[in-house]
Every structure is written in structure tokens, then in C-alpha cells.
């Protein structure tokens, strides 16, 4: 990169071209070339080249420092102008800024709300395959309810291989007096669910084994908040909570994290459903609880829904006949007596049920 006629390191000179501010305001190439000439005359070409390169290499980073400083100075001056303007037109500025602020704040709040509502139940692993079974009691869809009878879950799992899991959840609000040793509290968040509840829904366990936690009767899984309420920092696993109203002792088999706000479940404790006689009920008329199913991947809910009328006929038909003496098929002839099941996707439950 060294030219022989009017020697100056060409590459370095080319680099200098980038330092616009140095060139325009301080004439860098002029200074550097002049001194370069002097050094070449005094100390020879090699030293001169060395010196030239040294200067240029140092100039590059210092140029960026300069640009930054200049940029900051410019910002400062703009800020001063802006502040001066605001001070001169206080009233107008205030209205303007206040309006914008309120608008932005409202938008943000609304956005947060919308995202929150839409994010319900997303945290379950199998969320896209989970459906709640509901019953329709008339010809139109506004006669729908979310409750189903106890035997439905097991029957679904037996009859349909597409149903991978079916779990029952009893959501009724119950006010029970719970006591543990000296502490007694009136708890409202007690729910009952089948043992495979945690196969269907993703609930983070802090202690205990999700696969076996609710397998036995009289067992309960509690949330962190409850654990702290009754046991402070002690280990609650294996302790018992006593349900005074029903005189039952429940063994604690697991501790889970509190339900997140965007979950349509809000429980404090889940106890094993088999503890209640209701779980063994075989009547198909008593719609008393929620049934959730996990559908195999790739199966559309409508495919299963098509098989439901036959399913109902098989299981409920005989009971209906036994009770009323009327054959179920004949009963259905009357359109007003329509009765069917439908599947509701988990993710639709919060907003569309």
C-alpha cells in the first residue's frame, strides 16, 4: 500500500477519508500530511510511515468518541429548546401531554386486560387437546350446560380409544371448616377430582408425586398458600387435615403451586374424588360435575361428537326405560326432548362458555 512518487501510505490515507468531522473542522489530512513530510525529511521514510499509521490508528477510535460527544451535545441542546418551549406554553403543553398520557395509559391497560383474558389456561401442556364434555337439553344451543353425570368419564374412556384420558372435577363451592391441630379455618376452595387429574392438567408440583397423589381415598393435594397457612414452614406432606363438617381426615399427599390468575380453575385444595360416594354413582341423569377429556392428537372433536348420540343411547337408554317405561328412541322423536353431549375446547371455556 505504499506509493513511491508522492509517498504517503495509501491505505491509511483512504481510512482518513471516513473521519468527516475531523476533516471539515480541523483539517486532519492537512495537518497529518504536513507533519508526515517533515518527519520523512528528518527521519526517513520508514519512521514516517510508522508514525503516519500510528496516528491514523489512534484517530479512528477517538473519532467515534468525538461523534458520541457531539451527539450528546446535540441532544442536550434539543432538550433545552424543548424545555424552553414547554415553559412558554404551559397550559397548552399540559393539556397535550396529559391527554397523550391518559390515552397511552388506557391503551396499555386495555391491552394487558385483553392479553390476560386471552391467555387463560394456556399453561397446560395438552391444552389444545383438552375438552370439557357438556350436555344440551333441548333443540337449541342455548340450552347447554357444562355439567355431566359421574359415570360418563369412565364410559368415555372404555368406549372410545380416541379419548386418552377422562377426568372428573367437582367444582361446587363448598364451605368446610378445616382444622389441623389447633388451627381452624373456614375454607372455601376445596374441590374434588379424580386421580388422573394431573395427567390431564399441568399443575406444578412442589412436593409429592402427581401420578399417585390422589389415588387413595381421603387424600388431598394442597396449594402453597394453604400449606403456609396451616404449617408455616414445616413439611405438610403426610400430615392430616380434618374436615369437621364431614368428620373426615384427609392425608396431605402433595403440595402444588398456587393457581395462576389466568386459570379457570381456582382451587385451594384438591381432594381425591373417590372419597365421596357421588363418585361411584351410576345414574346418568344426575349432572353434577365437570368431565374433561384429552383427545388423541389429530382427532377433531366433531368426529367424537358424532358418536355421542349412539353412546347416550347405549348407556342412558336402558336407565331411561327402566325409569319411565318409554323407549329412549321413541322419546327422542319429539324434538323438544333433544338431549346430547358436546365437546368444548379448554381454551374456549373462559370466554365462550
Amino acid at each position: 500500500m505504499k506509493n513511491t512518487s508522492k509517498p504517503a501510505p495509501r491505505l491509511a490515507v483512504w481510512l482518513l477519508a471516513f473521519l468527516k468531522r475531523y476533516e471539515a473542522e480541523y483539517s486532519v489530512s492537512g495537518d497529518v500530511h504536513e507533519e508526515f513530510r517533515e518527519i520523512m525529511n528528518e527521519r526517513g521514510r520508514f519512521r514516517a510511515y510508522l508514525w503516519f499509521w500510528g496516528q491514523v490508528l489512534y484517530l479512528l477510535p477517538t473519532y467515534t468518541t468525538l461523534s458520541v460527544t457531539v451527539g450528546i451535545a446535540r441532544l442536550e441542546s434539543y432538550l433545552k429548546v424543548a424545555l424552553r418551549c414547554l415553559k412558554r406554553h404551559k397550559g397548552y403543553s399540559f393539556i397535550n401531554i396529559a391527554g397523550l398520557t391518559i390515552g397511552m395509559a388506557c391503551s396499555i391497560v386495555i391491552a394487558i386486560f385483553v392479553f390476560f383474558e386471552l391467555s387463560f389456561d394456556q399453561h397446560h401442556e395438552k391444552a389444545s387437546q383438552i375438552y370439557r364434555v357438556g350436555a344440551q337439553f333441548g333443540p337449541t344451543t342455548d340450552m347447554r350446560g357444562a355439567f355431566t353425570a359421574p359415570p360418563v368419564a369412565q364410559a368415555l374412556m372404555d368406549d372410545f380409544p380416541e379419548v386418552v384420558h377422562a377426568v372428573r372435577y367437582s367444582p361446587w363451592p363448598r364451605n368446610y371448616l378445616i382444622s389441623c391441630g389447633e388451627k381452624k379455618f373456614l375454607e372455601k376452595g376445596i374441590k374434588y377430582a379424580d386421580a388422573n387429574f394431573f395427567d390431564v392438567f399441568t399443575v406444578p408440583f412442589i412436593q409429592g408425586n402427581p401420578d399417585t397423589a390422589l389415588s387413595d381415598p381421603c387424600t388431598v393435594v394442597i396449594t402453597e398458600g394453604i400449606a403456609r397457612k396451616y404449617f408455616r414452614n414445616d413439611n405438610p406432606l403426610g400430615e392430616s387435615l380434618r374436615l369437621e363438617d364431614r368428620e373426615e381426615e384427609y392425608k396431605i399427599t402433595g403440595v402444588v403451586e398456587d393457581c395462576p390468575a389466568n386459570s379457570h380453575f381456582q382451587f385451594d385444595m384438591i381432594a381425591s374424588f373417590i372419597t365421596r360416594e357421588n363418585s361411584r354413582d351410576t345414574g346418568w341423569m344426575g349432572h353434577s360435575l365437570f368431565t374433561y377429556i384429552v383427545l388423541q392428537e389429530g382427532v377433531a372433536p366433531s368426529q367424537l361428537e358424532q358418536k355421542f348420540p349412539d353412546f347416550i343411547l347405549r348407556h342412558y337408554g336402558p336407565q331411561f326405560f327402566a325409569q319411565t317405561g318409554v323407549r329412549y328412541q321413541d322419546h327422542l322423536r319429539n324434538e323438544k326432548n333433544y338431549y346430547g353431549y358436546f365437546l368444548e375446547p379448554l381454551l374456549d371455556i373462559h370466554l365462550k362458555s
Binding site: E23, G30, D31, E34, L59, T69
Partner: protein, 106 residues
């Protein structure tokens, strides 16, 4: 920000003593003479930029010479404010060292 850094002092002193002949190359030489420092051009230009912004120094363009490949020289002059700052710095230094006469005898 009311005091001059040592670098600023040296550069301003050089500009002052060079009177009408203060430009890049000469300032470097003068600084070398005063303090023995080999001032890099990068440092020099940045310092000059700072001082310009603080109104200690103003620039003026001179005429191009062949030595500089056609670029014109840019000359620097002290402003009255710059002169005042320099004077303050000098008095300050004097005040410090005057109070410790023994030190100098060492």
C-alpha cells in the same frame, strides 16, 4: 466544570504562546516543547472540540499550502473567556505551590 484539565491547560498555553500561528502541527510541536508530551492528533482534536464547545477557543480558516495536499490550514485562537480560564488556572497553581515553599527546595 469550572476548572481546566491538565491537558486543556497545556493546549491553551501552547495556543496562547503561538499567537497567530496556532494550528494542528505547530500546537503539537509546542506541546512537545512545553511538557515533553507526544500529543496524538486524536486527543488534540477531541480536546479542541471540547474547548470550542465551551467557548475557550475559536477556529479560523487559513489559505491552502502545497505541503498539505491542497487542504487549508485551520488556525485556533483563544477567546477572552479562554484567556480568563487560563489565567485562573495559573493563579490557582501558583496559590497551591506558593503555600508549600519547602517542597520546591527538594
Amino acid at each position: 466544570m469550572q476548572e481546566l484539565t491538565v491537558l486543556e491547560q497545556v493546549i491553551l498555553t501552547a495556543i496562547w504562546s503561538l499567537k497567530d500561528d496556532a494550528y494542528g502541527v505547530s500546537i503539537r510541536k509546542e506541546v512537545k516543547k512545553i511538557s515533553g508530551r507526544n500529543l496524538m492528533y486524536g486527543t488534540l482534536y477531541n480536546a479542541l472540540d471540547q474547548m470550542r464547545r465551551k467557548d475557550y477557543v475559536v477556529t479560523k480558516e487559513g489559505s491552502p499550502t502545497p505541503n498539505r495536499r491542497g487542504r487549508s490550514k485551520i488556525y485556533y485562537h483563544l477567546t477572552p473567556r479562554g484567556e480568563k480560564m487560563l489565567r485562573t488556572a495559573y493563579e490557582f497553581q501558583e496559590a497551591i505551590w506558593a503555600s508549600i515553599p519547602d517542597f520546591i527546595e527538594d
